[in-house]
């Protein structure tokens, strides 16, 4: 049963400014959402991993542990009678701890007990190059996060500006801009990125290596595809904010349109953008992986290198699946399951943690869900 009401002061103290109060309130609701907290935790862990990877002496476009056949610095470890490099032999690099991975047999296989093969090596599909899975994942953290954030932030900024202008000015400007947005929304994402990269890969940007220009092209293509989503969201929100009293008050007190947009409209229409941004950050690496799966090797066709990015790594590993199966000798097949599992797992963790967090954010910020 409820006890007597507690003693209450007559009036409350100073109330903090509305925006800070909104942040505190948002954090309060996020704190109560276990899934969002889990997502945030994983996200922080991944970002920490990326930051750690920055300190490692790994070249930015490679993964360390490359032990080409007969390259110095590599030794070979075999599980069956040694004949490097065979299906049961693994090149081991001194710089990174590596363990002999347990093998998974397809003939009703069993997973033999062994150590966690994070440091063990994987093979690229195009040549006999082995790379260290751990370094691949660490570097991949950097690349995935950089690509994702740059695309999402740029797309959001462009979309924010376009949407704010369209929503606030209204009339013909609004119609024209929204038609433009519709046009871009009618083209499927992957398709457009593929087309853009295909068409423009013949041009190289002077001053950058082919790899860099292709990478930049990829990012630009993604940005071009991505901003319409934000424009539409922002416009919808601006249409609502535009009718609020404080905008009217600002206009009545003589503020110019630009100032109103910058100081009042945009800060108040931004919250769905945050949510969408956090969602997209998780989606972009998935799309990059899909592209890689379809054959978009950023280093160019039949290169011996593979971009150390989570999506690309798992895509290449999966693509290699059939070749591995096809090369099964009679009896036992060796399946390098770790090179499929770990990059894919990282990708999964990233996407799901971001989604949990964004979902919690959406629940916390939505004013229509009465609390």
């Amino acid at each position: 049963m409820a006890s007597a009401p507690p003693p209450s002061p007559v009036s409350s103290g100073r109330r903090p400014s509305p925006r800070i109060a909104q942040y505190k309130r948002t954090w309060f609701f996020l704190r109560r959402n276990t899934l969002a907290l889990v997502g945030l935790g994983i996200l922080i862990f991944l970002i920490a991993m990326a930051l750690y990877a920055l300190t490692l002496p790994i070249p930015w476009n490679q993964m360390d542990g490359y032990c080409g056949v007969h390259l110095p610095g590599c030794t070979y470890v075999c599980t069956t009678p040694p004949s490097p490099p065979g299906p049961n032999c693994y090149a081991v690099n001194q710089n990174f701890p590596s363990f002999i991975p347990p093998t998974l047999s397809t003939a009703g296989g069993t997973l033999t007990a062994g150590q966690l093969p994070l440091g063990s090596l994987s093979q690229t599909p195009y040549s006999q190059i082995y790379y260290n899975t751990l370094s691949g994942i660490l570097r991949g953290a950097d690349w995935s996060l950089v690509i994702a954030f740059s695309i999402v932030v740029s797309g959001a900024l462009i979309g924010l500006m376009v949407g704010a202008i369209a929503g606030f000015w209204g009339g013909a400007v609004d119609e024209a801009l929204m038609r433009l947005v519709d046009i871009f929304l009618s083209i499927p994402v992957i398709l457009f990125v593929i087309i853009t990269v295909s068409v423009f890969s013949q041009f190289t940007i002077p001053g950058l290596s082919p790899f860099s220009s292709r990478m930049l092209l990829l990012i630009l293509a993604f940005i071009v595809v991505w901003w319409p989503f934000y424009a539409r969201i922002v416009r919808g929100q601006v249409l609502v904010v535009r009718e609020q009293k404080y905008v009217e008050a600002a206009r009545a007190s003589g503020a110019k349109k630009g100032r109103i947009v910058a100081r009042h409209v945009i800060p108040n229409s931004v919250y769905p953008v945050f949510i969408q941004m956090s969602l997209d950050v998780g989606t972009v690496p998935l799309l990059v992986g899909a592209l890689a799966f379809l054959g978009f090797n950023l280093f160019g066709l039949s290169s011996s290198e593979v971009l150390p990015e989570w999506g690309s790594l798992s895509a290449f590993s999966v693509n290699q699946f059939d070749a591995v199966f096809g090369a099964c000798s009679v009896g036992v097949c060796v399946l390098p399951w770790w090179q499929i599992l770990f990059p894919g797992l990282m990708l999964f963790l990233f996407a799901i943690s971001v989604n949990f967090f964004a979902d919690g954010l959406r629940d916390a910020l939505d004013p229509r869900l009465r609390r």
């Binding site: 049963m1 507690p6 007559v10 409350s12 609390r371």
Partner: protein, 541 residues
């Protein structure tokens, strides 16, 4: 409208003694039921809080009053004083997170509808910060909500403030009123539909009489003739249908009118499949009624009667299979057409009862096509479908303009005289109270400060707040008088003032007002007030 009739109790219920599963200790400590048949609703010490991010809002803190049969009680107060919360608490429409009825008793028909409240949630008070933390038991809350279905609509009806928002925009008005009608009067309607005699004697002459009355343009005669046709066929909806067919028929075409009426009578001929379907629906409705009666008995006895309720649920579950069979899309729409038709014309007749001039168009229309006043009438019709004992009207005219307001109030007064429904009228407009109400409760900041007859309160307000309210009404006969107002503003209900909640704004505040909450004292016949200025005998409640 017919008199209120209680469905007969079944043999099952009579054989099972009440409160069989309650332990002697529970019986001894159970609150004594108030069995005054003249009182429709009794509230005792109701407390409803809202647990929000900003704190615990003490929306209602100890509200008690009684409503007698047939009387109109007005609940008056400023915006935010807790009037609507009281109304929603009575029918348990408070959204449970974040709201919560903490304690209290609400007696209706000898049953405490808030029975089992303490088991629905557990509370913990943090002694350091004095914050109340609540943990809800959702299953029990759901059970309580299901129990309320026995009372809502059939015993207590409600109408709300914004009629255009209060109706579902995608269903027609007729559908929505029909839903309420089917829910509460479905068994009788189906019975009459099944018992209709489309081949009775004397239909032909009755139709001729209708045609003659239509040609003669005498509305009274038209009414009488159509009613006679309805009696002959045994279906009141035919009477309504014929009446509006006649009203809608243009000029001459007498032959058309007759054929139309004949066609609608022919629609009453039901095939075997349709009869089966109707019987099946009727069975479901009877089971629902039994279950509702179970709930009422539970609330009266303040104990769960698991056995019979389980039996009813089992029976209903088996009926679900045939319901699936009948519910196959397309099948039901063909087979159930008779019922739909019947419901439509019953709805039209019902709408006539709330003085809607063109009920057929209204019933066919959608909520966004109708005006506020019309919709409010429809809402009243919907609430009165089951002839409830009590109608709770939550600011029914606030969203309407003054002329429509007058019409609605006229309607409500008329209903009060004709049917004898008790009305709980919630408003902030004293003028409405003066016009319609018998007794008044004045609320301030979640508590009732004064209760009494309208006459007494208006002529001799006792509580300083009531005095301030009445003094602030501008008077036509004193044009130069300054507009009085009550200084200060409505208190924050998260941290309400201690003691008497009005004391910061009261011109007569005394030291004791800051410390203790004033008891409710009787200051005249039926006139109670909660103020330390008065020292009458403490009220018995």
């Amino acid at each position: 409208m017919t008199a209120i009739s209680r469905p007969p109790t079944s043999a099952v219920e009579r054989s099972v003694p009440s409160a069989s599963s309650a332990s002697p200790e529970a019986l001894a400590s159970a609150p004594t039921p108030i069995r005054d048949v003249n009182e429709v609703l009794v509230l005792k010490d109701l407390r409803t809080f809202f647990f929000t991010y900003d704190g615990v809002v003490r929306a209602i803190d100890g509200v008690s009053f009684k409503i007698r049969r047939g009387e109109t009680l007005g609940l008056v107060g400023e915006t935010g004083c807790g009037k609507s919360v009281t109304a929603f608490s009575i029918t348990r429409l408070i959204p449970d997170p974040p709201g919560r009825i903490l304690e209290g008793e609400i007696w209706y028909r000898g049953a405490n509808m808030l029975w089992g409240l303490e088991r629905e949630a557990s509370y913990r008070v943090n002694p350091r910060t004095q914050q109340i933390k609540i943990k809800r038991r959702f299953r029990r809350i759901k059970e309580a909500n299901d129990r309320m279905a026995a009372v809502r609509g059939s015993g207590i009806g409600m109408i709300f403030q914004e009629p255009s928002q209060a109706m579902n925009p995608i269903f027609s008005v007729g559908d929505q009123v029909g839903e309420a009608l089917l829910l509460h009067r479905g068994v009788e309607i189906i019975d009459s539909l099944l018992a209709a005699k489309p081949d009775a004697e004397g239909i032909r002459p009755a139709i001729d009489a209708i045609v003659a009355a239509h040609a003669a343009k005498t509305p009274g005669e038209l009414r009488a003739t159509t009613r006679r046709l309805g009696e002959i066929v045994g279906s009141p909806s035919i009477a309504t249908q014929a009446y509006y067919l006649a009203r809608g028929a243009e000029g001459g075409s007498a032959g058309d009118l007759a054929t139309d009426i004949e066609r609608s009578i022919r629609r009453l001929k039901l095939s075997g499949l349709e009869r089966n379907y109707l019987a099946h629906r009727r069975r479901l409705m009877v089971l629902d009624r039994q279950r509702n009666r179970e709930y009422m008995e539970e609330m009266r006895a303040q104990a769960t009667r698991g056995s019979t309720r389980a039996a009813i649920q089992r029976r209903r579950r088996t009926e679900r299979y045939s319901h699936f069979y009948y519910g196959l899309w397309g099948f039901r729409s063909r087979v159930g057409r008779a019922l739909k038709n019947e419901m439509f014309w019953r709805v039209v007749a019902h709408l006539e009862g709330v003085t809607i001039a063109n009920p057929v168009q209204v019933a066919r229309g959608y909520p966004h096509e109708l005006s506020g006043g019309m919709l409010q009438r429809v809402m009243i019709a919907m609430a009165l479908c089951a002839e409830p004992d009590l109608l709770i009207a939550d600011e029914p005219t606030t969203a309407l303009d003054v002329t429509i307001q007058a019409q609605i109030l006229e309607l409500m007064r008329d209903l009060k005289d004709r049917v004898g429904t008790a009305i709980m009228l919630i408003t902030h407009d004293l003028a409405i109270i003066a016009e319609v109400a018998d007794r008044v409760c004045v609320m301030y900041a979640g508590q009732i400060v004064e209760t009494g007859l309208v006459r007494d309160i208006f002529s001799r307000p006792l509580h300083p707040y009531a005095q301030g309210l009445l003094a602030s009404i501008p008077r036509l006969d004193q044009p130069d008088k300054e507009l009085a107002s009550i200084p200060g503003s409505v208190p924050n209900l998260i941290h309400p003032p201690e003691g008497c909640r009005f004391h910061p704004r009261c011109p007569y505040a005394m030291p004791i007002c800051k410390e203790k909450r004033p008891p409710t004292t009787v200051e005249g016949p039926g006139h109670t007030v909660a103020c330390f200025l008065y020292e009458g005998p403490v009220a018995a409640d």
